[in-house]
Symmetry: C2
Subunit: 394 residues, 2 copies
């Protein structure tokens, strides 16, 4: 069990409470092994069984009220300044603890727009109200979205190091694949090669194994979250990958494009499309800096590709990456209903994003690339080495 | 990806809707990779990214409304009779689909008492109401707890086979441990041996690796969810294990007790305690049959041990086992606040339970055993081979 990160992040949570002038943050959960509030992996790094209240205050206290059988394990994590065990009911202990803190606001993990800040269930919310009936606290519940979004989004240096290592290993495996991939292989054959290499590099999956990597050969395979098939690689065709690994709990998410044939055989249509996508990524990377809004960044690539005559892509330019490949928070996306308010968020120092526009060619299918960046004080820095030309396999 | 089980369970869900006379069941989720409603692993067996509505009806229709990039993967699972993709917003498609079904009740996954039937978040519940504003449907929301509890609890034969295999492998590893365990070993040494054997048997953890197995040596180690330590095994001491594996997605959960010394050296106090726990388990196994209430079963062992002068144990007699070691639904537990209504539930055919009472001795620490049973038409059947005597290591 790695304790360092939850310790770091739980202190960061108290700092954020101060920054946001929110008195307390309450994570209210049970049986986190079955379904865990996304905050649990950030600030606990363990599991609780019975109804549990993890309370963080802007004065730096971190209190865990947990079932008696959980208490010892939670204490060992050294995340909390106080661990209060209970046996029959959490109700009275919880009320007593809150009465000591007397918080004017209690942040709870619910969020319409940011799924990664959304953890409290409908029934648990009501149960909390029931337990606190007759106290002033239910009227003080507020969404902890502003805190959760910043806590996940502002990666610590340790978090960035882990993502960087995940990215490096992903690139190493792509390099190994250059030697393995040939014409007349099935997508499945190539897919299994990646899994072998993941084992050798001792990493796990950034998303479900059934479509990680996505391997898409030729013009007729629709990209998306479908898995590899018996579809075969052919001379003159493109091969697309979407691949991400998890290293010490942190993810990478990179797309790459191969071409079967010599560089001089790349059709003009394909080369033009590739350059458009590649340059759209560079364009937006120059634009991104702390303070820009998610939808503004998305608009840069979207307009760039529309101006070049390509059909608009049906997704966001990029999402945050962290403990999850889709890490929530501010999205570099268009202002579509589906994305809620997440594209209206502001890019911040320490955010890690994918940049993944794509275009559709007439005869060769989609051309799609994906790079990973981290936002710095003055702009952004690539964690991946951007693909600058099609990888030719001949 | 195993499709057979989600297919079986999703049909069972429609059967249960008929049995309960509920028109429709709606699983309303997003980004299930980050946090998934517990129903997802039962009836989908995959993940969705964007806001998704999985609708099951008592007439047998199973409709998935999912983001366009998820549609192909979801179709491939062959769980749904209809897959409807969307791009910008799910709102209108969802309203159209519901208008075709015209359900008088819409079961949603919220439950005060059964955490395994509790999946919809507070924000997603409100978002659903917002999307359906102006329709009659928000007034027709009901808790799907009666359905979820039965769906998880009534194991199909395939599910029971997998749990049986998990139990068998757990017992094999315990047998291997008999040869490995010696005096003067640390809990950690023994713990790592179990992990090696798990790898050899190709199984994963039924619960968090940091306390699986729990290894508790000697009289002063408190049982619970804390991990193994440098604490050493000694002649004349007890050694306690709580260990469970996951085989093809299904769990086991068994406790065993070893003694360091010959059978004739077992102190009377220990032998009496061991027999009390062992016999309490047999006693309740004779009692359990379809129709009895959870708290009635718990009371059998609780009284049995109280009558023998032991202090009351601070937990439930047993929980259900399935995709999770703690699988929710009816609990064989006391009527304590903490357990809500779950001990009031009825034992049903196909339920798999642990039986795990314990007692505390004066000088040798706790004595605790745990067996796994499946409820049959006339009573119950042990999936594990009950431990009948202390395993002596000399």
């Amino acid at each position: 069990m790695n304790r360092k990160l939850p310790q770091e992040k739980s202190k960061q949570a108290c700092d954020l409470l101060r920054e946001l002038d929110m008195d307390a943050w309450l994570i209210w959960v049970r049986e986190t092994k079955l379904m865990a509030d996304p905050a649990i992996a950030l600030v606990l790094g363990g599991d609780v069984v019975w109804q549990s209240a993890l309370i963080f205050t802007k004065t730096g206290e971190r209190t865990a009220i947990v079932g008696n059988y959980d208490a010892q394990g939670i204490e060992a994590l050294e995340v909390f300044t106080k661990v209060v065990p209970y046996t029959q009911s959490i109700r009275d202990v919880l009320r007593t603890e809150l009465d000591q803190i007397k918080p004017k606001q209690i942040g709870l993990n619910y969020s319409r727009d940011d799924y990664a800040a959304d953890g409290i269930t409908y029934a648990m919310y009501n149960l909390l109200k029931e337990y606190l009936e007759g106290t002033p606290y239910p009227d003080r519940f507020v969404s902890a979205e502003p805190l959760m979004t910043r806590l996940r989004g502002r990666k610590t240096s340790e978090e960035i190091n882990r993502i960087q290592t995940a990215v490096n290993i992903t690139e190493e495996i792509y390099n190994e694949a250059r030697k393995f991939v040939k014409v007349d292989q099935t997508e499945l054959e190539i897919y299994y090669f990646f899994h072998q290499r993941m084992q050798a590099h001792n990493v796990t999956f950034a998303w479900d194994a059934d479509h990680n990597p996505a391997v898409d050969a030729g013009p007729n395979k629709e990209f998306g979250h479908a898995g590899p098939t018996d579809n075969k690689t052919k001379t003159g065709h493109l091969l697309h990958f979407d691949f991400g690994v998890r290293y010490q709990g942190y993810c990478s998410d990179l797309q790459r494009m191969f071409f079967f044939g010599a560089a001089q055989d790349i059709p003009n249509e394909v080369q033009t499309a590739f350059e458009a996508v590649r340059d759209a990524i560079q364009k937006v990377a120059e634009f991104i800096k702390p303070g820009v809004k998610g939808y503004e960044a998305d608009d840069i690539t979207r307009q760039y590709l529309l101006e070049r005559g390509y059909e608009e892509y049906g997704h966001a330019l990029g999402h945050q990456v962290g403990q999850e490949a889709h890490d929530g928070g501010t999205l570099l996306g268009p202002l579509w209903d589906r994305y809620g308010a997440s594209p209206k968020g502001m890019v911040e120092v320490g955010n890690v994003f994918t940049l993944e526009p794509h275009v559709r060619t007439k005869n060769y299918g989609q051309v799609s690339l994906e790079e990973n960046i981290v936002v710095t004080k003055k702009g952004c820095r690539f964690l991946s080495t951007p693909q600058t030309e099609l990888i030719c396999i001949s």
